[in-house]
Assembly symmetry: C2
């Protein structure tokens, strides 16, 4: 009959999950939104397509090569490659309708046509929060951002991470004190690689910039400093030579790390790291990176910082802000690939109701009742053998099955089977509801992710 | 300083909402997911870009014209124009990893380059549910679909709607009884327009197909029949002439409408309408459309039906299913445009905490406590005048403000201001939490949509 069948396939570099993975992905995404909302962030949902002249107003060569750009009719279109540029456009466009500080979150797909390789995606979710001020923005906001990240990772059961914090003014000021103003950007790019390439390689690269041995040593001593946040601040204070930029940076960094403590974040989860520079010259103050302590090879899974001006390409208004971005698809990929996800932790339903008589009406009434009690419930309508019916619940990891046979109906009871323990009992519907609810309330986010990743 | 500023603009036909609208949009979207999950549907998230040969395996001329298609490198890419084709690909591709019946929901953006006009979108959300069987699928599923739609609309506070239900076999069988087999598709396309163009115009169009006066009258009498579901089934039974297709259709329609009653759906919300045919020849049994009774001009905001084979273009497996799609962006646009949305019903936070002293630490501790109590809380850190601070809460419709001044801190109290009543009281934090929680629990989805739309 069929003339030809097209082999079903998905583009390489485009993540498409199986149901049990998707359930966990969605739960993680929901956790992010929940925490963002707890902190008063507004949701934003900008188009995936924009005018190319908008998205590329700022972009340089590297971005241009990676983008998905095409024409339809007379319109030159580009698929968004991050959520920051659309935010800048949005704030500039709707400036007068917004209330500042404008706190927004956006969790959305972005597109980059990078060379396909394992763990690199061309379509991936970014999960961004930003706080935008109108003309000015209090420094306290820089302390709130890491506390939001801390809450999220904790809720997800990911405890063994460090938010590394630094301040660009400290770095810029420091290089200025060494008389290396004009080489600051290049030095920061090199310093940023310390962990990856090591001290010796950094020294070699610095020397290529024709930096004196003395200055090289000072830079290496600076970026190699290790200590508590308090010790690091003391070390920085000891370097002060009357450079305004440096002193402002140290005072900001000191203020922000102290405030982070007030939020209740343990110091082991948020540490000053003088090597963090963030490549982008966009950042002007606080900068953040976040790593899993046991997995330095993964790199930063959550980065951001303070910037002076969000939307200079679209408006004359000065819009300083601070924000951070979680690479959600990449985070999920890592957790999944390293088998940290408990794939049986979530199911499409809490209960599968299996009618054992021809009349399915009682099953419908019971399912309706369960849903009113906020128990997700599905009825198995197919006329299959008993083994296939119970196998359905098993395959989908549905934790409870309710059987409704002649006997149960006659007695106004249900047979409730706990699919994990195998225990089965004939009880009233209300008793069943109580048992199911109790079991559901015991489940927590934490169980989504394996304890090996969870525990220190 | 600025060399040039690009005027910030969004593509026409691409919806981009202001924060208060976005809050409501997201709440509506969350309501859909919640109800889908209650019925045991699995989430699915397929890529927005696919190989053109995949998405266009089935597409005809009209679709081809509207699509966003382009090349990157050697790859011919198309942005998805619905969620059904990606579902078909997904099920065919992952057949052996899926458990059937496979119940999935997907809420995602799709792209159609239609001519831009008011209320027509080029990027818009569809919200689809489908139940896919492996070889067969019980008819009861056809009754569950409308009950899910009923639950959703009720939760949203939209009560004055009718799900219209019909069965393609009834129509095909009826035309076959009239000896009009070969013209069935054309007739259905005309019949589908009855409400739009009226009886006379339908008669004229039918006559153009060279259908006899007698048959025309029979068709008109058939599609004009009005009555309760029971009366309609009786009317259909009276037409039986031994045509198998027709009798199967009538028995299916009768079974499905009876089962819908068992789900507890009032008949006024779910009525047989013999004119509903759905344009697509894809549907083979039950078909649905959904309209607002007071707004027939809007057309169907939720349509779907039963199909024999989901993925014939990608696999030899027979995959019958039933599904329905809500045009979410269009639904939102209509509610918004007709001013049915209560834009002050939702706020980014439940409480704005305003520190009145230089030390913001107590505000941070209190906000942390509020969040633990599941109260969304934001601190106002900016050093602005009092009027600007309180105005911030007002503009964002944040319902409560907590002031923390010297006096409050000394007494271990907070000043809680109800922004709606204006009432302000100095109380303990625990008392404030109780008041806020009580107020939040009183709020319901229903208040998002104006009662004029809500009530009959």
């Amino acid at each position: 009959m069929k003339t030809n069948i097209v082999k079903p396939k998905t583009l390489s570099g485009f993540m498409e999950l199986l149901p049990k993975e998707q359930l966990i992905f969605d739960r993680i995404r929901d956790t992010l939104s929940t925490v963002y909302r707890q902190y008063g962030f507004l949701p934003l949902d900008t188009p995936i397509l924009e005018h190319s002249e908008i998205l590329l107003a700022k972009a340089g060569g590297e971005t241009e090569k990676q983008i998905y750009r095409f024409s339809k009719g007379d319109t030159d279109l580009t698929m968004r490659f991050d959520l920051t540029v659309p935010l800048a456009k949005y704030v500039a466009k709707n400036y007068s309708a917004l209330t500042f500080p404008f706190r927004r979150y956006q969790i959305g797909k972005v597109y980059r046509g990078e060379r396909a390789q394992k763990g690199r995606f061309r379509e991936f979710y970014q999960s961004d929060i930003d706080i935008i001020g109108d003309g000015s923005l209090a420094l306290m906001n820089d302390a709130e951002i890491p506390s939001i990240i801390y809450d999220i990772f904790n809720r997800l059961g990911l405890c063994d991470f460090t938010i590394r914090i630094n301040n660009r003014k400290v770095l810029t000021g420091f290089f200025s004190m060494l008389g290396l103003n004009d080489k600051a950007e290049e030095i920061m790019r090199i310093v940023d690689k310390l962990e990856k390439i090591g001290q010796d390689a950094v020294a070699t690269e610095l020397q290529k910039l024709e930096i004196s041995k003395e200055n090289c040593d000072k830079i290496l001593r600076f970026i190699s400093f290790q200590g508590t946040n308090e010790e690091t601040i003391a070390f920085l204070n000891s370097l002060k030579e009357g450079n305004e930029m440096f002193e402002l940076g140290v005072s900001e960094l000191s203020f922000v790390t102290t405030a982070i403590k007030t939020y209740g974040i343990p110091e082991e989860n948020c540490q000053i790291d003088l090597t963090i520079a963030r490549g982008l010259d966009y950042y002007t103050g606080t900068v953040y990176e976040t790593r899993f302590n046991k997995h330095p090879e993964i790199g930063s899974i959550c980065s951001g910082g303070r910037y002076d001006n969000l939307a200079g390409f679209y408006t004359d208004k000065e819009l300083p802000g601070v924000g951070i971005s979680i690479g959600l698809t990449r985070l999920f990929y890592i957790l999944n690939e390293r088998e940290y996800l408990r794939k049986d932790a979530l199911a499409p339903a809490d209960v599968l109701v299996i009618p054992m008589t021809d009349d399915v009406a009682p099953s419908i009434l019971i399912s309706n009742k369960l849903r009113k009690e906020e128990i997700n419930s599905q009825i198995y309508f197919e006329k299959k053998k008993f083994k296939a019916r119970i196998g359905y619940a098993d395959k989908l990891s549905i934790p409870f099955v309710i059987f409704l046979g002649e006997d149960e109906l006659a007695q106004e009871r249900v047979s409730l089977k706990n699919m994990i323990t195998g225990e089965q009992q004939v009880i009233t519907l209300d008793e069943a509801i109580a048992i199911i609810k109790n079991s559901l309330s015991e489940k927590e986010n934490r169980t989504l992710i394996d304890t090996e990743m969870t525990n220190r």
